[in-house]
């Protein structure tokens, strides 16, 4: 936990010192190009790798009754047997995180009325789902809002998003809700790992690192907007020059901006090789994207070795004489078979 925090701080400090010492083009130009290339190629490599892994059999992790006799009601979305059902399950999973919605928590209680003594209870725990949903959607909105720096003229839908996001009209520059919610959700996701003992036990550096990294990105972003502002107009000129492959001078842009960019590039570089690939992986989850139709369709393992059959006719041909000698019944007597 501390290690990954230190690593993020170190990356930030290097970017800060580097851009303050005049290496800003390195962090602001070279790194983003590199990171974008690595991210795209890495993700494609991942997807091809997954697509090459065979999944011959259905993996029915059911969240409900599978298709059975006509009078037993099937859970059509949680245990689909048709493509439409799978599609519905995928949509719900990707847009609403249905699996997290089913999250339950186990607890040992000293007294349960049911057993009139100590016992374990399971109850639905929606916190993870709630904050994960908040995090992902705010992240998406914040991500989309950044396109005002990449497009000239700025498309109307981005302006519309900004208007909604800043609808509270607090302060100037206007306070955007998504940024704050994003930070709160991230802190919850971090706190969950720190204060839940069971989770803390199974949390590794590669769980904490992305969280700290995202907290770093969001933190620097919020700073850049509200506290230690940099010149937005100049940043747009700079970013537009990068997307036109003719980078202009980084003169006059605050080092904090390059810390922000460097952390984002770290995220891009890190994504294809870490658990953050779940953005593509969710589409490849066999437990989500395969219909549970093993009872209607035969699924054959493609790498089974070719079967060697030995039919009874062949068997009799092989051993006819011996069988006749032993007096066993035959389908064809030896004299007939010789013809």
């Amino acid at each position: 936990m501390l290690l990954s925090l230190l690593l993020v701080l170190l990356i930030g400090a290097v970017a800060w010192a580097g851009s303050a010492a005049g290496f800003a083009p390195l962090f602001g130009v070279a790194l983003p190009y590199l990171a974008t290339a690595v991210f795209i190629c890495g993700m494609i490599w991942r997807m091809v790798y997954w697509a090459k892994s065979p999944v011959p059999f259905r993996i029915p992790t059911t969240g409900g009754q599978e298709q059975s006799l006509a009078f037993i009601r099937q859970a059509k979305i949680d245990c689909p047997s048709t493509r439409a059902g799978v599609f519905a399950r995928m949509v719900l999973e990707i847009l609403l995180f249905r699996s997290l919605f089913r999250n339950t928590q186990a607890d040992v209680r000293a007294h349960l009325p049911a057993s009139n003594g100590p016992g374990t209870i399971y109850y639905s725990s929606k916190w993870l789902w709630c904050f994960a949903l908040m995090f992902h959607y705010c992240f998406l909105l914040v991500f989309l809002r950044h396109f005002r720096f990449f497009a000239e003229p700025v498309p109307a839908w981005i302006t519309c998003l900004e208007t909604l996001d800043g609808i509270m009209q607090i302060g100037a520059p206007r306070f955007f809700m998504t940024g704050a919610i994003l930070l709160v959700a991230l802190l919850f996701l971090l706190g969950r790992r720190l204060f839940n003992q069971r989770l803390r036990c199974i949390s590794l550096a590669n769980d904490y690192f992305p969280l700290w990294l995202l907290i770093g990105i969001v933190g620097t972003g919020i700073c850049l907007r509200y506290f230690d502002k940099t010149e937005i107009a100049m940043v747009k000129v700079f970013i537009m020059s990068i997307t036109h492959f003719s980078p202009v001078s980084t003169q006059g842009i605050a080092p904090l901006f390059f810390v922000h960019v460097t952390l984002v590039c770290t995220l891009l570089l890190y994504s294809p090789f870490s658990k953050l690939t779940h953005m593509a992986g969710v589409f490849f989850s066999p437990t989500r994207n395969l219909a549970n139709n093993s009872r209607q369709k035969r699924h054959i393992n493609p790498w089974n070795p070719p079967k060697q059959y030995f039919t009874y006719a062949e068997y009799e041909n092989e051993y006819r004489d011996a069988m006749a000698e032993a007096g066993l019944p035959l389908e064809k007597a030896p004299d007939k078979a010789a013809e």
Partner: protein, 126 residues
């Protein structure tokens, strides 16, 4: 590769989305400078121009609080000069060409201040 059709479609969509900034950049206009028109008969803004570029909205926010909550309508700049706190009568006296100054920069950066639903722009009769 299994499910090649779906996977390749997915990869293409992914790549196009990820490189979208470049396509949008190439398709749209380039943006080399703000192209704002500075006031002709004045030399200096209220604070240093670097400060104004970065923080003019925070200055305005401060002004608003000062004037309306602190009942103090005089702002002392860094260099000791005194300015009367007024959005319409101070800022827009010098920056009288709102369209070519404030607006130009704001539109490019997708900033649409809501101030003008109440405050009045010069040259606009309401």
């Amino acid at each position: 590769m299994y499910n090649a059709k779906a996977v390749i479609t997915g990869i293409i969509v992914f790549t196009v989305l990820c490189t979208a900034p470049f396509w949008v950049g190439l398709a749209g206009k380039d943006y080399k400078s703000t192209g704002i028109v500075l006031p002709k008969d004045e030399k200096k803004c209220i604070e240093s121009v670097e400060f104004m570029r970065k923080d003019h909205m925070r200055l305005l926010n401060e002004w608003r609080d000062e004037a309306l909550r602190g009942e103090n309508r005089v702002y002392t700049a860094e260099d000791g000069k005194k300015w009367s706190i007024s959005l319409q009568n101070t800022c827009l006296k010098c920056h009288s060409n709102y369209k070519e100054f404030c607006d130009k920069c704001h539109t490019a950066n997708s900033v649409y201040p809501y101030c003008w639903t109440c405050h009045i722009l010069p040259g606009e009769s309401k």
